[in-house]
Symmetry: none
Subunit: 315 residues, 2 copies
DNA sequence: TCACAGGTGAAAGGTATTTTCGTCGCGGGT
DNA sequence: ACCCGCGACGAAAATACCTTTCACCTGTGA
């Protein structure tokens, strides 16, 4: 299926790129709901929320029952189940039963209230920690291993890797580029959209472009990715919206998790945690596959930094 | 049939005494099978045993499927489900799914080893996630609230905040500065040690300088902090070594946690996670204390970014 | 205001589950 | 040995449940 007639910029992402979009596991359901909710219609959101709020109760209901309880129709319930990655309601129900059993036995119901203005610092720390830990678990649970695998393979053998990210994501992009540089790969992070595009058009088949955007519709990041895509590079999207515009130009999509946010807890926080986990996975994967060169490179760069530390207390 | 002549000892237990004969719990299924097995017919025993041996597998089967797998009929399967205390097969199946999820999650905690070169990607993700979660818990547990409190107070009323970090820590420094800017504070991140020092000497009492260094002995970060300290600014150190040199010039010390590291997992990874949690706590704390100005500022900056996203799908 | 796109639910269409009912095998009595 | 009755068992009918289709309706942009 590789039709590398790179003559025109009209390369299109192959439609059946998601034969098995999501292996539906029970644990990460709440996360999935949060990830997909924005791209759902109102009725479907109602269903999804009901289901996430009371898995045990909903597992006991039939399609009709759940439709009634949410004030919607059976069709909508089935549609929601599909959106969450299950073949139909029956399977969602099974997963729900699993989830219910898990949280029944797994003690901690993990109820996190939102952070409010007058929370004492102790609570802030506790809630923040709890949330970030949850985000990590969710992200790991929702990660599509085959996509990671594919991205890692492409990166490991890439001539050059470009990473795009603006705003908070730019820090993540830089982090990834820094790490890749340290194991001897050619990687650049671009935060300036103009420079990003001008660099992107230099890419060709065998190169890799990675876009990092939580919303999935940050134009400053989509444009360079599209340019890279059109020029035949392998493209990867790290995004919280697997249905976002950015994925149109991505050969591989890595979904980051979305945590509930509030006024005091801006989007940047949990999405950043999620993104960092994903890029760390990419990094380790690449390091494994290029171990021959990566290991000595890591050692060298470590030693190069040693003299920048004050000499004493070298334990 | 003789009805209610209760005078003799032949009183009969009222028939509807067991409207709910058995509350079907998921966990005790195996036990229930053993209890009931003797009073079952051969075919039913086959079904019960199959079910107890492989809950996960059976949960995926329909009545017909399970009947086939056990070499029996659908009716027998349903009868078995009844015998085990469920209203029908559907409910048994639900319980099975729950049981499967339970024992799946119970079997999980087998990840303590280090990441090695030949770990499959699945393990890498699991280990990485586990480690980062542990790091978060450790950091939160080790954080000295009074120090956080003090740092937050100083920051909230600061005329200006400078943040120093080089290498991986520079990204953390930038993250903090970015966030503080978004709530209307005057904050700068310095990665260039020369510029950092030249800026540090401009600070005075009422200003805040924050140094971020995992090792606690990164000279490029210590020098500007010392300069700020000498000029009367309030200084904060975010470090993994509370006994490190950097703390000599720090009014407040926030300790980050250190996870075990290995060749494939460079220091930057878990220390970064830890540092980010700490600065997030600082940020939220400051945002709370400056809520009057922070809230509208956050809203404004959010709106300012809206047009940088592609317009569609604004739900 | 109109045309249109897309969400939504009623009802038709299938599939899975439950019930019914007749057969068959087994043990005990004649 | 044969017959009788009891209960296990499964095929198929009956039902409940799930899925799909399609027309309506609502909100949106010209």
């Amino acid at each position: 299926m590789k039709e590398n007639f790179s003559r025109r910029g009209d390369r299109v992402r192959p439609a059946p790129a998601q034969p098995r979009p999501a292996p539906p596991e029970p644990g990460a359901l709440a996360a999935k709901v949060r990830t997909m909710a924005p791209s759902m219609t109102r009725s479907m959101q109602r269903v999804a929320e009901t289901v996430a709020a009371d898995p045990a109760g909903c597992a006991a209901l039939t399609v009709t029952g759940l439709a009634e309880r949410t004030g919607t129709s059976e069709a909508t319930v089935v549609r929601t189940a599909r959106m969450l990655g299950y073949p139909g309601y029956r399977d969602l129900r099974l997963a729900l039963a699993g989830l219910a059993a898990q949280q029944a036995s797994g003690a901690a119901p993990a109820i996190t209230t939102d952070i409010s203005v007058d929370d004492p610092l102790t609570d802030v720390i506790a809630k923040l920690t709890q949330d970030e830990r949850q985000t990590l678990a969710d992200t790991a649970g929702a990660l599509d291993i085959s996509q990671v695998e594919a991205a890692v393979s492409a990166m490991a053998s890439a001539r050059r890797i470009d990473v795009y990210g603006v705003g908070a994501s730019s820090l993540v992009a830089q982090d990834l580029a820094q790490k890749l540089l340290r194991i001897g790969l050619v990687a650049h992070a671009h935060a300036d959209p103009h420079l990003a595009v001008t660099n992107a058009v230099q890419l060709r088949a065998g190169d890799v472009a990675i876009a990092i955007t939580h919303s999935g519709r940050t134009v400053d990041v989509i444009e360079p990715l599209q340019a890279a895509f059109d020029h035949g590079a392998t493209t990867v999207a790290v995004t919280g919206r697997p249905d976002g515009e950015v994925t149109q130009y991505a050969d591989h999509v890595l979904t980051t998790s979305t945590a509930r946010e509030s006024e005091l807890r801006p989007a940047a926080m949990s999405s950043r945690t999620s993104q960092l986990l994903v890029i760390d996975c990419l990094f380790i994967g690449v390091a494994q596959r290029t171990y021959e060169t990566a290991a000595p490179a890591l050692r060298t760069s470590y030693e190069a930094l040693a003299h920048r530390h004050s000499p004493r207390d070298v334990r």
